[in-house]
């Protein structure tokens, strides 16, 4: 499920436009991976983890902040979906007639409670506690120490490192209430073009040593996503995704494909 959260994380972080720095708060807002994505898109991701690396492909359909559908593309995983509606997470599989509700804090994969990481809008949920400047081989960095606005968030602290020149984050490290680092997201590559988004990300579960998932964006298109896909109790639209031709996706006009 680390894959999933990484995917979500990813999916929420699409367009980043470099803007001259003003204040740390402004920098956070501009570089906020979770807030700047397109409202509605389809993406295809490759998720690799383990040793030897097992590769999964998933398709992500997203419509606004509230609705996300993850479709598993591996042949033996056909028909399996994860559906996020607001704060609810559902597992939909052909073997189970009814959707299975998963707690967003359920340790579903890699020991990570995805809810706190998934689609976290840093600028909206965190305050900048401190901002320090650092240097690496490629230039200046701003290290933002973020503190949660609400007590309810699982990760009260985030260390968010932003490259000054690009105003793009290079890593986000989430800490537990105990101060222990739980999850780290490293943004390795960025897709340049009309849509700017991180094309390669590593998500590390720091609570389980060696648990790393690499996410690569294979396809990304900004497009309207029909709301039928997110119908919890009616799987017909989702089923249509698996139909060979004349299937559901073709009825929708793509806006952009990258």
């Amino acid at each position: 499920m680390l894959l999933l959260l990484a995917a979500f994380h990813f999916a929420s972080s699409l367009v980043l436009t470099p803007v001259p720095t003003s204040s740390p708060e402004e920098l956070l807002r501009r570089s906020d991976v979770g807030a700047l994505g397109p409202d509605s898109f389809r993406a295809r991701l490759a998720l690799r983890s383990g040793s030897p690396a097992a590769s999964h492909e998933v398709e992500i359909w997203r419509s606004g902040d509230a609705k996300t559908l993850v479709r598993f593309l591996a042949p033996k995983e056909r028909g399996r979906f994860l559906l996020r509606l607001e704060n609810q997470l559902w597992l939909l599989t052909p073997g189970a007639k009814k959707p299975v509700r998963l707690s967003p804090s359920h340790r579903v994969y890699g020991g990570v409670r995805i809810d706190e990481v998934l689609g976290v809008r840093l600028a909206a949920n965190y305050l900048v506690e401190s901002a320090t400047e650092e240097q690496d081989d490629e230039g200046a960095l701003i290290v933002l120490e973020l503190r949660a606005r609400s007590e309810d968030l699982l990760f009260p602290e985030v260390r968010y490192v932003v490259r000054v020149a690009t105003e793009r984050p290079i890593s986000a490290t989430y800490r537990l209430r105990s101060g222990r680092e739980a999850t780290a997201v490293d943004f390795l590559q960025w897709h340049e073009g009309d849509l700017i988004y991180p094309s390669r990300v590593i998500v590390s579960d720091l609570l389980r040593k060696g648990s790393r998932t690499e996410i690569e964006v294979l396809e990304m298109e900004e497009r309207p996503v029909p709301s039928e896909l997110f119908e919890l109790d009616d799987p017909s639209a989702r089923r249509a995704l698996d139909q060979p031709t004349g299937s559901f996706p073709e009825r929708l006009e793509s806006t952009k494909v990258h």
């Binding site: 499920m1 680390l2 894959l3 998720l47 983890s49 383990g50 097992a54 999964h56 598993f72 591996a74 033996k76 995983e77 399996r80 994860l82 597992l91 599989t93 073997g95 189970a96 007639k97 009814k98 299975v100 509700r101 998963l102 359920h106 579903v108 994969y109 890699g110």
Partner: protein
Amino acid sequence: MIPASIALRNLFRNRRRSILSLVIVSVGTAGLLLTVGFVRYSFEGLREAIIRGGLGHLEVAPADALEAGGAGADRPGLPPSFRDWNQVRDVIESRPNVLGAGATIQFAGVATTGDSSASFFGVAVEPDRERRIGIDLRLRGGSNLGETPPSEGEETVLLGIGLARALDAGPGDTVTLVAPTPDASLNALDLSVAGVFTTGFQDLDSRILKTHLITAQRLLGTDYVTSLVVGLTDAETADRTVADLRAELAGHSPPLSVLDWETRAPFYGQVRSLYRSIFVFLGIIVALLVALSTSNTIMMSVLERIREFGTLLAIGTSRTQLAGMVILEALWLAILGGLGGSGLGIALAALINVLEIEMPPPPAAVDPMILALAVVPADLLFAVAFMAAILTVAAIPPILRLFRLQIVEALGHV
């Protein structure tokens, strides 16, 4: 002139005292026998419960899986990694003393009915192999899994009685299992509850569920299994078979581990050492009681015969020979008392077994226990030998007295 016969005659010079000693030795022997019988019955019962409860006599699994998961059976966190289990099974099942080798998958996840959820520890088995191996299922409702693998959508499950209670589910209800798959994904499967069972252990009953191998493979999206559970025609051949199979499977890649049931149920070893300490403690108490009381008897019989011993020394008996006589008398006490006690023990054991006395369930167990004893001929030998040892020790103080005896004093002793 047979020393043993003389010793026996001497023993019955003071009939009353000797009979009292014999009673003490007999009761001690019977007590020991009953304890041994109880311990043996408990061991055998526990062993059978463990073996028939699903562990089988042996388990063959990829070595790394066993190492990572420990020797115990409880390693559901690891994905099944046994790829060519079918071929290995053929090798194992070709042995004449193998009843069968059933593939199993151990897995974990969350079971839900929609209204309630509980985490589970799943054991997926092949019911036909389980039957051949002789693995019992203690059903508490509903029926066992069918022997033929279910087709998709017809999957069934047996719930541990505590898990069934937690889910508020019974036979006929549908339960959805959600489990992480070996490829780091998550899957769910609807299963119809066929029955409710108990393992005999409360703790396990609240987590365990049993299903078909194929069901778990569908849920996990794998053809692999966790291990092969092997049933033998005779538990006594387990050690030899472990050694043989280790040799036979030595070249397998990846390496396979072959473990006997005792290694896989460290609990059994713990219980056994606990029982053993209790038994040793009891044995020491019995030994002390018997030794103290019979030592006194032997001492009295020696003191009463001081003049006789003086005479025997005077006419050329060595002190070692006198000591031998005393030991012979003590040994007679041990043998007669041991035999009497054996008879008494066997009779009591038979009586107890017939009465089927019900005992409260042992800690963490579910069912009450029937008090029963298993006494075997070797125990009788052991009991007599043990008594012989105790009485030889008990004869030491009187013998020391004999070694200090002054002949002249002894002759003048009245």
